[in-house]
């Protein structure tokens, strides 16, 4: 049965994800290696936090537990980006260079959806439960957040994730024109690293940069503030606005890019 609208999109996405899971599970040694690398990376990310808080009780009002909460959110976002977003959008660059993007464009479904759920780095997704565990542990160290705090944190997290995905899509769009700038993605990764610390440690202009240009702060510090009960309408509004702006902007850029795409065969 062919459904329409969001139902059809979900059906397509489900089918593609199942196929990419099956593909990923074929390369088992790669899978174990990725898992090992990801786990050790995540564990070693605690090193600097441990060092910092062996010298101070709090830094700019952030305790060790709160910083671990930010780190947990950072690990979660990192794992989702590395597991879902990077393998897919990285493959688009390769398709543009090799000309195989044509096959995607010919299919009777939205091209952005198709290129976004083709591949899955299963090994990297192992970090998701680890990150959730870290977040849960950090939350258990303080008074449990209220229902509305959790809801606001979730909204901010989703909005920020949408923004980060859109940022990757924007980076990919540039490769329709400049084939060799795909390592712009590596530059993004290095900026994502800033998300492991709470935003207040940065100077004001960097803080703004990490909110509206590379919105990693929206996914890490903003939800952490919400879970501490320290959110207001301004924070929530800013978080949602960033998500919507990035989603709309990247969708527009993607359509422009496809329109300018001359394909390998023409």
């Amino acid at each position: 049965m062919v459904r329409r609208g969001p139902g059809r999109a979900a059906q397509v996405a489900g089918g593609l994800l199942a196929a990419s899971l099956a593909t990923a599970l074929q390369y088992r040694s790669d899978f174990w290696m990725e898992m090992l690398t990801g786990l050790s990376r995540s564990l070693l990310a605690f090193g600097p936090v441990w060092l910092v808080f062996s010298h101070r009780e709090t830094v700019l009002g952030w305790s060790a537990d709160d910083t671990v909460l930010v780190l947990g959110l950072y690990l979660l976002v990192h794992a989702l980006l590395a597991g879902f977003v990077e393998p897919n959008l990285g493959a688009v660059v390769e398709s543009i260079r090799a000309g195989t993007l044509d096959f995607v464009l010919l299919k009777p479904a939205d091209a952005q959806l198709l290129v976004s759920v083709r591949r899955l780095a299963v090994g990297r997704l192992i970090d998701v439960p680890l990150a959730l565990g870290v977040i849960a542990w950090a939350l258990a160290q303080r008074e449990l957040p209220s229902g509305s705090d959790v809801l606001v944190a979730l909204v901010l997290l989703v909005s920020g994730l949408v923004a980060m995905y859109s940022l990757w899509l924007l980076a990919i769009c540039t490769s329709f024109w400049f084939v060799r700038v795909d390592n712009l993605r590596f530059l993004l990764w290095s900026m994502v690293d800033a998300g492991r610390w709470p935003l207040p440690v940065f100077t004001p202009w960097v803080r703004w940069f990490l909110t509206v240009a590379v919105p990693i702060g929206v996914v890490t510090t903003f939800p952490a503030l919400a879970l501490r009960g320290e959110w207001d309408a301004r924070l929530l509004g800013l978080g949602i606005a960033v998500g919507i702006a990035f989603a709309v902007g990247s969708r527009w850029a993607w359509r422009r890019s496809l329109a300018a795409y001359t394909s390998a065969s023409s």
Partner: protein, 265 residues
């Protein structure tokens, strides 16, 4: 040795041509190594209310600027390059030339070094503009020792990566395995925090490991945190680790190359 010296000018010309052709990529690659700046932001906030482990805010800024520079000066990407060339069989071309592949890789990476450092100039200038008080002259002896120590750090980094890369003769891919080593390096080499911030019980162990000789020794010399007299032991330790990895890497390479069976071999 003399045949290496004779081939050197040509190899360097090739290296420079490659770097110039992909200069935009090079700039992006260098900008990806900005983790020290993220760490500086945090440690700077930590030192707001007084020095931490002997580092005040100026000292921390100096430390992480030096980290940024020495990281570029010791940058080697042999693991990724050799992994790819072993898997794709392109290593065979290098094996045909009358010069050990390690020399070919080494010259191509060393020729890009000056360019990598030039790209850093605006970044360092911006940091000095942000905090002019970070500048301090450690003394001529310290600078000369830092140069020698940087050379040793580069050689050690190259040998370690050559060792992991040669393991790719036995395993399919080793860049993942190297990722684990890299994570340990980041924590224990002084890349994310000065080693002085480690607790007292951990420091003697951390200082004996090879990681410190790959980054922290030249950084501390350049920043004036390590006196030339103290540095002698550290440089001796660097030499020791270079020796250990030279032997180890040589053994892994010889065993591995005997098994190498990519097409063209």
């Amino acid at each position: 040795m003399s045949h290496v010296l004779r081939a050197l000018p040509d190899l360097m010309r090739v290296g420079v041509a490659g770097a110039v052709a992909y200069r935009a990529e090079l700039v992006i690659w260098i900008l990806t190594a900005t983790l020290p700046l993220v760490m500086l932001a945090m440690w700077n906030a930590v030192a707001l209310d007084g020095p931490v482990a002997g580092f005040d805010q100026d000292g921390l800024a100096r430390y992480f600027v030096a980290t940024l520079v020495i990281r570029q000066a010791t940058s080697v990407w042999l693991v990724w390059e050799m992994n790819y060339e072993i898997r794709s069989g392109r290593l065979s071309t290098k094996l045909l030339r009358p010069l050990h592949p390690f020399w070919q890789y080494a010259t191509s990476m060393l020729t890009v070094l000056p360019m990598r450092l030039v790209v850093l100039v605006p970044l360092v200038a911006a940091l000095v503009w942000w905090r002019p008080t970070l500048l301090a002259w450690p003394g001529l002896t310290a600078v000369l020792l830092a140069l020698a120590s940087t050379a040793l750090a580069w050689i050690l980094t190259f040998l370690v990566q050559a060792c992991f890369a040669s393991l790719a003769f036995f395993l399919d891919k080793t860049d993942g395995l190297f990722g684990v080593w890299f994570g340990m390096w980041a924590l224990l080499s002084g890349y994310v925090a000065p080693l002085a911030t480690f607790p007292d019980w951990a420091r003697p162990v951390v200082e004996l490991l090879p990681f410190r000789g790959m980054l922290a020794v030249p950084v501390e010399l350049l920043g004036g945190f390590l006196s030339p007299a103290e540095a002698m032991t550290d440089i001796a330790l660097q030499l020791l680790w270079v020796g250990v990895f030279a032997v180890l890497t040589g053994a892994v390479w010889r065993r591995g190359i005997a098994r190498y069976g990519a097409y063209g071999a």
